[in-house]
């Protein structure tokens, strides 16, 4: 009996190892996507605040670039404003736009993995909800996937699970923007009808068919067009407007968000 006890004490570390390793492997392989995302505590308070601090430090070094981007956007908006001013009264225009978008800062981001995620520093407390579209002055970035209290995880275009409804600017044929890993500057439009008149150089924008994005948010430029004989669809290679490795400030489309259709769709699947 005593020697048994001695044995157990002497090799207690083996039992401890088995215990700790089981916990780790259970976390690693046992957790479903939702638990995994919940664990992904870059949306949690602790790691979120440290990542935000890093982003603070980094943003000082990027101020010059940010200024350039803002100046560019200002110039673009100003020229656009001039064209609409003739038709619409300014006051009604601003009352419509106000409250449509929340501004958030990207505090964590990756582009090199097979499944990338972005963390932004706005959450449910700021009115962010699942399914809201995220973009910046250059174009589409992704869709809010898991809103935490203060931080949210965004499913970016550069994720195998991302699928965003898009169309060719000026036409009404639409398809879905998808990404299959690899090059972070290229994505694909699939399920575009065969007869669509589309050429390299055409601009891809959001279709407005899903509640995530308003219509006509820029996505990218068509690089090449492939005909998929099997299902009579076109497959477009698209060069993205947004350099996903260089995003700091983003807009979240909080207006017109109606999560119910999305949930219904999920239930139907």
């Amino acid at each position: 009996m005593r020697s048994l006890l001695d044995f157990i004490v002497k090799y207690s570390y083996v039992f401890l190892f088995i215990l700790l390793e089981s916990v780790s492997l259970a976390l690693l392989f046992g957790s479903n996507e939702r638990q995994r995302m919940a664990f992904m505590t870059s949306a949690g308070r602790f790691s979120g605040s440290i990542l935000e601090w890093r982003s603070d430090v980094k943003s000082y070094f990027g101020l010059r670039r940010e200024n350039e981007k803002l100046a560019y956007e200002n110039a673009m908006l100003r020229s656009r404003l001039n064209t609409v001013l003739d038709n619409i009264e300014v006051e009604s225009l601003f009352s419509r736009i106000e409250g449509d978008y929340a501004v958030a800062r990207v505090i964590d981001n990756s582009v090199r993995k097979d499944d990338n995620y972005i963390t932004i520093n706005k959450g449910r407390a700021d009115g962010i909800e699942r399914g809201m579209g995220v973009f910046d002055s250059r174009g589409v970035i992704g869709v809010v996937m898991l809103p935490g209290k203060k931080y949210s995880i965004v499913l970016p275009v550069l994720n195998g699970r991302s699928s965003i409804s898009c169309k060719i600017s000026g036409s009404n044929s639409f398809g879905f923007l998808e990404w299959y890993g690899g090059n972070p500057y290229m994505a694909y439009i699939v399920d575009m009808p065969f007869h669509t008149d589309v050429n390299p150089g055409d601009t891809v924008v959001t279709s407005g068919f899903s509640s995530a994005f308003p219509e006509n948010i820029p996505v990218g430029i068509v690089e090449s067009v492939e005909e998929e004989q099997l299902n009579y669809m076109l497959r477009l290679t698209v060069s993205l407007f947004v350099d996903m490795s260089d995003i700091r400030w983003v807009y979240v489309n909080t207006h017109g968000q109606d999560p119910e259709p999305e949930e219904l769709k999920e239930e139907l699947q």
Binding site: L16, F17, E21, S24, L28, M40, S42, G44, R112
Partner: protein
């Protein structure tokens, strides 16, 4: 040599975690190689530690890294395995008369054995890491490339730190 105090070990852990998640995790050479220098924490376990303490510390630093990277259990599983094997790997590179209380370093082992020790610990950790991360195993060549490049990168950083650490401050144990 005095055993390392709890506070000091904890401080080292916090420092290494921050270094890892704030800087090193951003590095991705050729899309394959990411240095995982945080295992320095386990590499420097002194042989006077109980095996239970090694396992708990190893698990702990892994799970904290996981909290930042959104990979529940991945780093914890690998660092716990490394914490289990670390004492065995040390003895492979120690001469028989140096089996007393020792922190693996250039002073206690000599440069050559230290390099071998650092390489083997890194290889063990990174092999488990990339296998666990890639399950279900798909492309073997990509997997091997990731293991080889990351191991080399982490190893070179650890070697540089290991070779210079003791020279500058011989009496410090960490």
């Amino acid at each position: 040599m005095e055993p390392v105090s709890f506070l000091r070990r904890f401080g080292l852990m916090v420092g290494l975690v921050l270094l890892q998640v704030l800087i090193l995790n951003r590095i991705s050479l050729f899309g394959y190689a990411t240095p995982m220098f945080y295992i320095w924490f386990i590499v420097r376990f002194e042989s006077s530690m109980t095996r239970n303490a090694m396992l708990i510390w190893g698990f702990f630093i892994g799970i904290v890294i996981d909290m930042f990277t959104g990979t529940p259990g991945l780093n914890a599983a690998c660092s716990t395995i490394l914490a289990l094997l670390q004492p065995k790997i040390v003895t492979l590179f120690l001469s028989k008369d140096r089996r007393d209380i020792v922190v693996p370093s250039r002073d206690t082992m000599g440069g050559g054995p230290l390099a071998g020790y650092l390489f083997l610990t890194t290889l063990v950790h990174h092999t488990f890491y990339f296998i666990f991360r890639s399950i279900p195993l798909g492309d073997w060549t990509v997997l091997m490339a990731k293991i080889v490049f990351s191991t080399l990168l982490t190893f070179l950083i650890m070697l540089a730190v290991g070779m210079s650490a003791d020279r500058s401050d011989k009496r410090r144990s960490l």
